[in-house]
Symmetry: D3
């Protein structure tokens, strides 16, 4: 694979040119307040599986606008005391699927809350959470769903779900500290949830995060999902400026400065899906304690098992 983005030494100091919307904080405060006002307590129902060392629950919590969002809650069976909780967000297009897809963090001794992504789950791993909001014409996929207004934008809803997932985790009776993590879209959501949750999050792990430096991303790669944005603008050139204004509200480069928890971020130099400069743009904007895991030879599947091991070590060290 050929290198295609900025050289590594430039990546180390690259900063996004994207401007934060002036009402960024107000927008999110209002959104989250509304969701909290409409929230009901989470429903947590034990599920019988053949995985006999694990205690598994099907969770339904109140997300954006009080709408129900599904999750799996998985933890080691037979543990009495408090547990750290890892809240995980999922990559683009996939749903929560099967419990057997999510065995890492319980194996590491954590409670693990895997949030379903509303409307997703039709692409590769099945999902169980509808997105009850309809939409106008959009490029197929999710990146431009409702993009003509920040209030109707799909990711406003999903990020709200993510913050609510953190709050749900914190309310679990056995919950000790709460961390967030995810790969790709999941990584973008982890950055957003961390940025919006303040001290409620004790650590954030974002692998090759999506939704960072979006204005740049949509002009330097042909790969989906970023290419969905260009396709939308192609059909709707007069609406491109508005669409760009909307995505500023969900850009990781604006959540990053608000993150207070220690962060682990990975980037891959040959990643055409989430180009490394867009990841560095977010990473470089995190003000506090942070670590970068760099994959020099990888594309978007950068690191896989390497990163899983690194993530577990990072979390264990944080909690030690």
């Amino acid at each position: 694979m050929a290198l295609f983005d900025l050289p590594l030494d430039q990546l180390r100091t690259y900063r996004s040119a994207a401007k934060e919307p002036v009402d960024f904080d107000a927008f999110w405060s209002a959104t989250l307040d509304e969701a909290r006002a409409l929230a009901a307590p989470a429903a947590v129902t034990e599920v019988r599986t053949g995985l006999r060392t694990l205690h598994v629950s099907d969770v339904s919590f109140s997300g954006y606008g009080g709408q129900p969002v599904k999750a799996w809650l998985i933890r080691p069976r037979g543990v009495d005391g408090p547990l750290p909780v890892m809240v995980e967000f999922i990559g683009y297009g996939g749903g929560r699927g099967f419990v057997n897809d999510w065995l890492l963090w319980s194996a590491a001794g954590y409670a693990h809350l895997v949030m379903d992504t509303r409307g997703q789950g039709g692409g590769w791993r099945a999902g169980d959470t509808p997105d009850p909001e309809g939409s106008g014409p959009q490029s197929p996929g999710f990146l431009t769903r409702g993009v003509l207004d920040p209030h109707t934008y799909y990711y406003r809803r999903v990020i709200t779900d993510a913050v609510r997932a953190v709050e749900t985790a914190r309310a679990l009776p056995f919950a000790e500290r709460v961390l967030v993590s995810g790969i790709s879209q999941g990584g973008g959501l982890a950055l957003a949830a961390a940025g919006l949750s303040g001290d409620a999050v004790a650590g954030v792990i974002a692998s090759v995060p999506f939704l960072c430096d979006i204005r740049r991303a949509v002009t330097i790669t042909n790969n989906d999902p970023y290419a969905e944005f260009a396709r939308f603008c192609r059909l709707n050139p007069a609406r491109a400026a508005q669409a760009l204004s909307t995505v500023d509200y969900v850009d990781g480069v604006h959540f990053a400065p608000r993150i207070t928890a220690p962060a682990l971020v990975s980037a891959a130099l040959m990643d055409l899906t989430c180009p490394p400069s867009t990841v560095f743009a977010a990473y470089n904007a995190i003000p506090g304690t942070k670590e970068l895991e760099l994959y020099e030879w990888d594309g978007h599947d950068g690191g896989r098992g390497h990163f899983a091991a690194r993530a577990v070590d990072f979390a264990n060290a944080l909690l030690a």
Copy 2:
């Protein structure tokens, strides 16, 4: 292009094995009655364009559940007397786009009502009609949106829109007879609208229609949109039987026997998107006057200008 479906002599007599749901008529009566009960009169607003020989209006009519659906109404400028109205439905993924995309039928001396397809218009030609209904996880696209219940199924809404478009056309002050037409998805909708509109439709033109003999179609081609169905079932095997039951409610082979107007249908022997056997399945089920335009060397774009000319001649002859 290689031939891949049944030999032509077998196509001539092929009949679908799909069974009509026992409540097929009841399902559609109830759906349409509800839509009509919620309908408001269409809003018809003149639009200024540079196309100086045409009178163009932006139409908004009440579709499924009374929800607003957009259309273009295009007719020769300066014609006083009554006009036949061609109602046209659009191919998969495209919206109504620009008036300059729709110049055939006004050139032929018809009023032309081009119905936007709700939620579509993000793939190639822009659209203006939202689908306000959200949905659970589905295969990307529209074929499996809400497919787990005939009542929530996306095409229940679109077909209702189509019938309502016919009713809207009939209510136009200058309307003479009303015909329906379309290519691919548009052809499938034309068959459905004709089957559900009885004598309100004076002719039906369906080029390489989609949504016919769906149970067979989804197992004999890898091409989208039919392949969306297989992808959904792959993620949701336990729900495949239900999904198959749902699509029976929108299958052209069940609308065909209800068509009373003369019909022109085209099929292309090398069409991997709407395989010829599935088109013949619908054509062979039309009981009345009908003509088949067969393209022996074509794929799904079968006929194009040839078919447009043939369609104009067919309509002109009907109305002569």
Copy 3:
């Protein structure tokens, strides 16, 4: 789609490095004089179609070397007075096809002369005009047909046809002013015809024009048709310099300075077929009144309906 060519601010001022052949004017004068000397009056035969609002004729006029070239002539039926005539040239590989493919300009109230492209029409839309000149070995396609000498070069013949089409339009009994237009190859021919027709052309519309800044184009894209040139040179490296000299005679950057009519040009920043720098090279060389329509998110199909509407408005305004 990723941006790949020069940044927009550099495009704004980019000038081609191609040098005009010293005998450029002499070459074209001689070529056109010879064609005119061999020309017979155009044969214009009415064609019956189902498009009842239109008057349609099949035209055969004398092109390069007096050879017959086909065209459609389409105009609103029942108009008595003089009409502006839009002469349109066709994109690469397509022929004049069906009348129903060409409904824009008559709908806008123009007479519309659609010139068939000699020898083309085997790729996507059928044609009716042979190219009676044989050729030596060439890269498949038209870009290198006869390219070893400007006198035998295919585009010498086609551009001559285009100038003769303008002259044919001007000779129509009802002709008012004459404009030229086209997309891609058609846009390149429009620039050439305008540059060679002086004041005989009242306006020129070129969408994503082909045949501009060819020496650069053939080294910055892998897309056909420009890639045909590289393929030819690969097989014939010793003849590459001659081939490059030949294409200088048909390069839009040399026709542009000779254009006196107002011009509308479109470019698309993600256009890998006619890269934006090559289009800007021609646009920037037009000395007079001109407008640029820029598609920031589009590839070679840049603009479509948007551009059609813009083109009609541009022409209407010119003639107002």
Copy 4:
């Protein structure tokens, strides 16, 4: 995805036409006896990971010809009594990778021995076991490595490793009953190991197994790895008959009749990598207790999480 293999009703009774080599049992007895004669006791070394609920060991055992083969041994930490052991074989091209890739069976309460595949691990998941045997020219991949003689054939070595892995599992101090499982190549190895291990194996789980009905497989699909075989024969047509004779020694249809343990097999009707008829050929040849998990809408990744859940239930029930 289109169906492409035999119809389902024919698959239910399909039997391979492949003939068992007359010295099949002798060949394998001699091979295994030699391996056992050269075997040293397995080296089992604890590995520290962040997965705090698991006890993980790096295992090195004696495989074919006494050569060292790597494995992971993973089991729930803090369990005292005897444990069932699931021996797992890996899909084509991948190595044992990271411990965090293999969390299913320990979560289900089993000890889990994951055998590295010699020489593999360069395609997608890294491996740690060399194949110290060189080879003559072969089609890239493993299917034709040493294929000109059953004694030098690559899969003779790997299957021997697999049988030795079962024997290694049985010798673990805490081992209760031993089962074998795998997906694709892993499924083929599970069938082989079960067929060669007699009562030493208490259950066999083979998902979309490779290496079954090979003579048919190599003529009905263009997908790798089976297509490697055709490529080899293309270069070496005079050696095709010998190569076909060799693969008979490793064909699952010959191991199947020797399987005495209960078996769970999956097949996917749209699987172009391990076509369903080849899987049914093996399944139908298993004489004893068996279950088929059929995926009607899936390709080679058939079932994934569905099958993992089914496999755990199958194994739990066997051991109940």
Copy 5:
């Protein structure tokens, strides 16, 4: 590669359903007589190359309509006596290229006359022979050039060139017996030249010949060049019947019964370019001495070096 055509046992007896045109012999007699009447003696000019063991000449002989056709004539330097002459025709799209491309037959001790294919040589190996005949719109390539009339059809000209090449070879002062050979298009031309040359040809070698059983070929493969025919018919459906009538005049299945020389033919069972049934159709129609070389695992490049060795042995044995 998957098998896709008729099973081998059916291939062994397969006969084409194509009917010979009633005026087939008259058509070719008239064509050849005309060419001979216009022929001038071949110009044979020695060419200096670094290949010091060879005597090389550039040949220009009179082909169809007396038009000049280029060839290489290559023979061992320093041989005094008479030599057998192998006339070779070239595969689709390539020209005669470099002398160093054609070293087989001189190495075997033959004089070797390599005929350039008119108009070809732009695809992969350069050519030097123009096709001075222009053409109407056609599918890109050569298969449909002039296909609307057998008299204007491109292959009428090329086959005439091929027969004239044989006659040119026979007139060489050192010529002993003359054989013909070729691969793919070259094989089709070899069959045609042999069928039209009677006893003037002492042997014919046709590897995976093109232009056989064309009516069937164009419906069973998507591969070029046969797919060019379907593309043409797609644009010109009303002319498909005429085009099919034309190709009957150049079909190898009609030349085959006229071949009197011993023949060697190869077929490849996985050949999607010249499907095996079409090759068998010609082979099975050869009445006399013949040998089939079958490649069971090959596509269109079937056999390569294997076939070259076999061809040399076949020719040597014929001449022994």
Copy 6:
């Protein structure tokens, strides 16, 4: 094809940044000394072929570690005196194939020794030489076989074979001067063999050589074989530095300064397999007499017949 590498004027002076290992000479001396110590005299056995003007022998000589390596020896039959010998190395993935694949140099009056490449010959042209060394997991192909140590690296063995082939050629009873040549991998081996053979080689011909400036090559192209290296590092990031150290031992930029014979090198500006900068890196490092053949419009198959003719002329001139 688009240009993608450095501009030509920068290529003219480009120098690789790769550092020569400090023990480079020692490494190769030891390796070659060991091979020579284990060498037996070459076995040269005449082979009967139908190529009656040639004398052909099957050669087996001692290569790396004394292991047998196959070659063809082809020379004009009936030549008594001494002959220059061209030693040729083969492109990636192919074996020595058939004698009829190698007719250039004997036609030019040379003895021609074509060295089989150990282990290769499974990709396109069959081979006959095994690589008896096994290996650990590697990226499929040869570039990373044994790459974790220069001593186990595959190309250590192949380059040793190449030097031994030169020594074998020199020991032939009729040998006059010895030259080396090859295309792609063969070109890389020619540079290596020349650099390690000192005055034993009288000329070196390397067309688009592989294995040059490898550290750069593996980051600027996605094409195999260089992409194999990135794939390996992706799976084994912790071993990337070691792998890079290993390839330094076989890099053409380090052999180039040791070449004393006149050299002919070709490069192609659109070559994505062996990018031009990597070829210039080696060419620019050759200290002595050298010629560059530049293909401005070619990819990796750059030049073909052109280069063959040029190579023969170059060699003839050297020996004149």
